[in-house]
Symmetry: C3
Subunit: 261 residues, 3 copies
Amino acid sequence: MDKKIKFVSLITDFGNKDGFVGIMKGVMLKINPDLQFIDISHEVKSFDLFNGAFMVERSLGFMPEKAINLVVVDPGVGTARRPIIISTKDGHFIGPDNGVFTPVLENEESLLEIREITNDAYFLDEVSCNFHGRDIFAPVAAHLSLGESLDGFGPIVKKPIKLHLTKPKFGRTEILGEIIYIDTFGNLITNIPNNYLTDKVQEIYCGKNICNLVEKYGGGFFRKLSILEGSHGYLEIFLKEFSASEEFNIKKGQEVRVKLK
Amino acid sequence: MDKKIKFVSLITDFGNKDGFVGIMKGVMLKINPDLQFIDISHEVKSFDLFNGAFMVERSLGFMPEKAINLVVVDPGVGTARRPIIISTKDGHFIGPDNGVFTPVLENEESLLEIREITNDAYFLDEVSCNFHGRDIFAPVAAHLSLGESLDGFGPIVKKPIKLHLTKPKFGRTEILGEIIYIDTFGNLITNIPNNYLTDKVQEIYCGKNICNLVEKYGGGFFRKLSILEGSHGYLEIFLKEFSASEEFNIKKGQEVRVKLK
Amino acid sequence: MDKKIKFVSLITDFGNKDGFVGIMKGVMLKINPDLQFIDISHEVKSFDLFNGAFMVERSLGFMPEKAINLVVVDPGVGTARRPIIISTKDGHFIGPDNGVFTPVLENEESLLEIREITNDAYFLDEVSCNFHGRDIFAPVAAHLSLGESLDGFGPIVKKPIKLHLTKPKFGRTEILGEIIYIDTFGNLITNIPNNYLTDKVQEIYCGKNICNLVEKYGGGFFRKLSILEGSHGYLEIFLKEFSASEEFNIKKGQEVRVKLK
């Protein structure tokens, strides 16, 4: 009983229109009716592993202890890519072994054990070729939540797949980063960690636009790009009460240049 | 106590913007605070009973046993259309008698009893003319979940309304079906059951485009349409890692032609 | 124990894509794992306090008794605007003091006490400058749900900020209102209360279009605007089975003119 898990968080690219997510929840509740779900996002860009990994990173540390985190961004569904369970000090992560868990795997001190999911006793009776979220990942998560031990799901995985996440490049006179995510408000999230913002920074440009360094959203100048330490650990560019992305026509991948003194 | 129901699934065309669904949940929780909800979809196309019926069919069998399934796609709200409860071996279905429950009604061995909802003791005190989801269906679902017996809600319904769902047509040399749904990924769901895919199939066309027969999403050819046995029981046409609908400009209603040997 | 609160409703402009809401829920469940959430809307128009206030008004009275209602529409996040808790006979309201709670504040007989949230013992350890939903409002709501007494959160607020919500204007021969919200169906919600529809009303115009007075959605004429008593207390203009907004190109702010006899 001690080992029972109550919370399952969900990140998928399934959208909210087609019923995929509700059906997965139904499958899990049939196995463990005491589960509670936390929807993080079902609007990961279709098939975009980098976007999925970004969402995984964002939510790390904010889910209840020991939660099962189900991440189904799975362009290779039905191919040989492995379904895996990653056990960490923070909780469990279940999904395809395609790199979407890179932020979890990079946090090495927290990693405990990785298993390939091969034991089909934990799958639905019929496994379709294109909805493993329902047929494999959901029932596996529910069985794991009931306290099944990890080694029953399959063999140890030694080399899980990691994405090559873009990191900022350091030069003598500047740091070169880029926009890696644009949120609902049109805020531009960079790949430059907040702690790179030191005394040595002189000016910051997003493409050709200078960014005013401020300490809060409300502190931005009207109609001018501003930059601040973002809530998810990375510098974030915004336009006071407007969409920076729309008004300045800035897309994912745009270069961000931090000029040093 | 035995008869208490814990889960209510929800399918509506209310969207997630206007607060309709949250307000319905609030109404239900005021009556039965132990309820748990499973949102299947709130993005059924406005007023589209066929789309609603499709979503009902998709989720059949995947919800927890005895769940109450609330379906509010209700273009005739405020008119004489009857609110009904359908009791089946799988659970209860509550919504308007407008055909949206056709897949439930066609599964005749599971049907137990159908009641018109007429007893306004189970409604909110004030019933508006245009939000029966809140004023009738939600409180009825919550009272039913508390174990109220079916006959208290109203009289038996003998002839519930069924939609005429399009079925594929058989010829000597071909089967003619059509695209009945397009999902978030741009996958094209046909009305041709998976089990029609026999040795006798020679070629499959979607409009003028030939579809390669494959066994999994990952197995598709790049830039060419593929077809496989879909997870919901119907043949499904897709484009590997892209939207088949967008790239080939295919809409709902497009003809699908299965040429036989 | 008696004082524990189970339900937290949520209204935000965070959207459902970026994970903001799921992360807030994770934060709350870490503090009180027994909480249950009711999502009202996360698609309030970005930074639009009037839209947020409208959503607050819509849901008033429909949430479980004593629920905590968390409303994060917060264009001034990170500035001097105060975080507040409003205690009423219906439940608690937590969010920024920027007018989004105007409908709660106007219901004076229900108001009990308003507190500024200043005690950072209830915040996350690190408070970012741009995600107070996660760092301040969510943990405060969770601690309040555990039965913490209101005076521990901060000092009494005497003059909370109210928005100037547009009210209809009365003339001798007409009432002048406007469209204040357009829902998912394209229905046009006016700011004219249902009870203004008396014997003295002769004709109603939305811009240049006459609106037929009907008693239910289904009662509308095809292709002609109709008006009825809306489910949220205000007159509502609709187009039978179509979007009135799209077909007649009517936007928020459009004048509605009620001609009197």
